[in-house]
C-alpha cells in the first residue's frame, strides 16, 4: 500500500509538471493579453505595467520564474483582481464550492446507485421507467434550464427555499446541490443499472442462487460489488469536476465559489489565475483518481496486484 501510494504520488507530480508546462505555453500562444482592451494605454505606461508582472521578460524566463514560485507555494498575484494573490482568491472561494460539491457527489451517488439497482431488479416496472425518465431529463436538459425552473417553482411559487445566495441556513444549499447532482444522478443510475443487469447474468450469481441463500442475499452480498465497480471508476474524475464548482450553478444561484474563475480567468487573460485554477483542478483529479483506485482495489482483489 505504501509503495502504491509513493508510486502514485510520483506519477502525480510528473503529471502536474507536464500540465503546468503545457498550460503555460499554450495559454501564451493564444492571442491577446491581460492589458489588451479597447481603452488606449500609452506605450510607456503599458511597458511599466508589463514590467511589474515580468511580462516583458523572455517567455522561458517567465516560465522558470513561475515554476520557482510554485515550488515555494507562491502562485503569484492575480492580474485582474488587484491586491489579491491567486492563492487568496482560490482559498476564499473554495469552501463554497467544496461544500456544495461534496454534498452533490454524496446525493448523486446514493440516489443514482439506489435508482440503478431498483431499475435493474425490477426491470420494465414503474420504478425502472421513472428512473429512466429522470435519467433522460438529467442528461438531456441543460442545467441552465433546470436550475431557473427550480428557482421559479420551489423559491418563487412555493416559497419553500431561497432563490439563491449564501446564508447561514442549510436551505440556501438545497437547490444548488440538487441542480448540481441531477445530471450525475442520471448518469450514475444508468451506469449502475447496466452493470447490475450484466452482473446478474454472471455464472457466479447462478452459483450463489444454487446455494439457496435467498435472492436478497444474492443481490446484496454477491451482485452489488460488480454493480458499483463502474460507478467507483466514474466517481474519481467526476468528484474532482464537481467540487471545483460550476460557473452555471454559481452564477444562477449567486454563490461565491471558484467555478466562475475557470471561465473568467481565461477570458481576462489573467495568466497566474488560469495557472492556479489548472493546478488545483489537476491536483484534485490526481487525488480523487487515486482514491477511486484504492476503493476499486478494496472491492476487487484482482486489481490489487496490478
Amino acid at each position: 500500500m505504501l509503495r502504491f501510494l509513493t508510486t502514485r504520488a510520483g506519477d502525480g507530480i510528473l503529471t502536474l509538471a507536464a500540465l503546468v508546462t503545457l498550460t503555460f505555453f499554450v495559454m501564451r500562444l493564444a492571442p491577446g493579453g491581460p492589458f489588451s482592451s479597447n481603452r488606449k494605454i500609452s506605450p510607456d505606461i503599458l511597458a511599466n505595467i508589463e514590467a511589474t508582472y515580468h511580462l516583458d521578460e523572455p517567455l522561458l524566463q517567465q516560465f522558470l520564474r513561475y515554476v520557482w514560485g510554485v515550488v515555494r507555494f507562491d502562485f503569484g498575484p492575480s492580474i485582474r483582481f488587484r491586491d489579491y494573490s491567486v492563492a487568496d482568491i482560490l482559498i476564499s472561494g473554495l469552501p463554497y464550492s467544496l461544500t456544495i460539491g461534496l454534498w452533490a457527489v454524496l446525493v448523486a451517488t446514493v440516489t443514482g446507485v439506489t435508482l440503478g439497482i431498483l431499475g435493474a431488479l425490477k426491470r420494465n416496472s414503474i420504478i425502472d421507467y421513472s428512473a429512466g425518465v429522470i435519467a433522460v431529463i438529467g442528461i438531456a436538459v441543460p442545467i441552465f434550464v433546470l436550475a431557473p425552473l427550480m428557482q421559479v417553482y420551489f423559491a418563487l411559487t412555493l416559497r419553500w427555499l431561497p432563490v439563491g445566495g449564501w446564508g447561514d441556513s442549510w436551505r440556501n444549499l438545497v437547490l444548488p446541490i440538487v441542480a448540481l447532482s441531477l445530471p450525475n444522478i442520471a448518469y450514475i443510475s444508468r451506469l449502475t443499472r447496466a452493470a447490475m443487469i450484466e452482473t446478474l447474468r454472471e455464472n457466479y450469481i447462478r452459483t450463489a442462487m444454487a446455494k439457496g441463500i435467498g435472492g436478497r442475499r444474492v443481490v446484496w452480498n454477491h451482485a452489488l460489488t460488480g454493480a458499483v465497480l463502474p460507478v467507483v471508476a466514474y466517481l474519481g474524475p467526476a468528484t474532482a469536476a464537481i467540487i471545483t464548482g460550476s460557473i452555471v450553478i454559481e452564477t444562477i444561484f449567486a454563490l461565491p465559489g471558484i467555478g466562475r474563475h475557470f471561465v473568467d480567468a481565461a477570458l481576462n487573460r489573467d495568466y497566474p489565475l488560469v495557472m492556479g485554477i489548472t493546478i488545483l483542478y489537476g491536483g484534485f483529479l490526481i487525488v480523487f483518481n487515486t482514491l477511486a483506485d484504492i476503493l476499486r482495489g478494496w472491492l476487487d482483489p484482482r486489481v490489487r496486484n496490478e
Binding site: 446455494k211 439457496g212 441463500i213 435467498g214 442475499r217 476487487d300 484482482r302
Partner: protein, 329 residues
C-alpha cells in the same frame, strides 16, 4: 409413467418438459423426460451439446434462464421441486441438493475469499458462526485435497488454477452433505490430465457421504467409470436408458451405438480417422413428428419420420426408444 418403477427413489422426475421462449418461437429443450434416482446411486446423462442434458439439472434447481418454462413433476423427498416457489426451494437447494457447474473459472465470485464463499451456505442454513463455518470450510477444502487448505481458504478464486477451482466447487457443493448432487459437465473445462483427479475426488467423497449423483457429461469414459445407470439423451428425449455395463457392452439404440462407436479409444486398433455420426445435431426449434434422430440414422425406415417411437422395455431394466429395437424385445 416410466417403465422402470423404483420403490424407494430419492428423486422421481415425471414428464419433464423445458421450453424456451425465443423471438423466433418456442424451443423445446427437454421433451417429456421421466427417470428416477435411487439414494446413493450415480446416474449418468450423456448426449451431444444441445441435447438438453444441462437444462434438466437447471430446471431441478430452479435456475432456468428467465425465458425458460418448465412443466411436469420432480418429486424430491416428498416435495415437487418444479411446483415450489423460490423461497421454499431455498430450503432444498444448497441443503439437501447441490450443484457443480461446468465452468469453474467463472462460477466463483471474484470478489470474495474462497473460504467465505464456502462458509456462506453453512452460516445461512445451519446457523453456524462465521468462525465455525470457516473451520468446516477449511476441513472440506482439505478433503478435496487442496494443499495447505486452511491458508488457501483465505485466497481469492483468481489465485487458483482451473482444477483447483473445480475442487473448491466440489467442496462447496458437498459441504452441506447433500443427498443429491447435480454435476453439470464438471470436467469439460479442465485439462485432460486434471479430469481424472477431479472425478476420483468427487466419486470418493460422494460414496463416503452416501450422496446420489446425476452426472451430466458428453465424456463416455467418465460415465463408464463412474455411473451405475446411464440415460442417453438426444434432441431433448431419452433414446436409451439402462445399467451402465450392459448398455456400454451392447447398446441397443442406433444413436447410442453411434455415440459409442464415435468414441476414440487408445487401446483399439488404429483406425485411419475419427469415427463420427453423419449429419448435424438437430437444431432446437419446431418439433418435427417422428424420431429426433431420424434424419441422421442409417437404419431409418419410413415410420421413423412420421411417428415418435415410445420408450419400450427391451431387457430387464433397459429401455430404448426405437421402432427397430422395440420389435426385437
Amino acid at each position: 409413467m416410466p417403465l422402470i418403477q423404483m420403490t424407494d427413489s430419492l428423486l422421481r422426475v415425471r414428464d419433464l418438459v423445458v421450453q424456451f421462449r425465443l423471438p423466433e418461437g418456442d424451443v423445446t429443450a427437454v421433451d417429456n423426460v421421466s427417470f428416477d434416482v435411487a439414494p446413493g446411486e450415480v446416474l449418468g446423462i450423456v448426449g451431444e451439446s444441445g441435447s438438453g442434458k444441462s437444462q434438466i439439472l437447471f430446471s431441478l434447481m430452479g435456475l432456468l434462464a428467465g425465458n425458460g418454462r418448465v412443466s411436469g413433476a420432480a418429486h424430491f423427498a416428498g416435495q415437487d421441486l418444479l411446483a415450489m416457489p423460490p423461497r421454499a426451494l431455498d430450503q432444498v437447494r444448497g441443503v439437501a441438493m447441490s450443484m457443480i457447474f461446468q465452468d469453474p473459472m467463472t462460477s466463483l465470485s471474484p470478489y470474495k475469499r474462497v473460504g467465505d464463499q464456502l462458509a456462506e451456505g453453512l452460516i445461512v442454513h445451519k446457523g453456524l458462526s462465521r468462525r465455525e463455518a470457516g473451520r468446516e470450510a477449511g476441513r472440506m477444502l482439505d478433503r478435496v485435497r487442496i494443499p495447505d487448505a486452511a491458508r488457501r481458504a483465505r485466497s481469492y478464486p483468481h489465485e487458483f488454477s482451473g482444477g483447483m477451482r473445480q475442487r473448491v466447487m466440489i467442496a462447496m457443493a458437498l459441504l452441506v452433505k447433500p443427498q443429491l448432487l447435480l454435476a453439470d459437465e464438471p470436467t469439460t473445462a479442465l485439462d485432460v490430465t486434471i479430469q481424472a483427479q477431479i472425478i476420483d475426488i468427487l466419486a470418493e467423497l460422494a460414496r463416503e457421504m452416501g450422496t446420489a449423483i446425476i452426472f451430466v457429461t458428453h465424456d463416455l469414459g467418465v460415465v463408464a467409470r463412474l455411473c451405475d445407470r446411464v440415460i442417453v439423451l438426444y434432441g431433448g428425449r431419452i433414446m436409451e436408458e439402462g445399467p451402465a455395463a450392459p448398455l456400454f457392452a451392447a447398446p441397443a439404440h442406433p444413436y447410442a451405438k453411434g455415440l459409442l462407436h464415435a468414441t476414440p479409444r487408445i487401446a483399439a486398433p488404429l483406425s485411419p480417422r475419427l469415427e463420427t455420426i453423419a449429419g448435424t445435431p438437430r437444431a432446437g426449434g419446431a418439433m418435427l413428428p417422428g424420431c429426433p434422430f431420424a434424419s441422421r440414422c442409417d437404419q431409418r425406415i419410413d415410420i421413423c419420420q412420421t411417428a415418435q417411437p415410445p420408450l419400450k422395455v427391451i431387457a430387464p431394466g433397459r429401455l430404448s426408444a426405437c421402432h427397430l429395437t422395440g420389435n426385437a424385445a
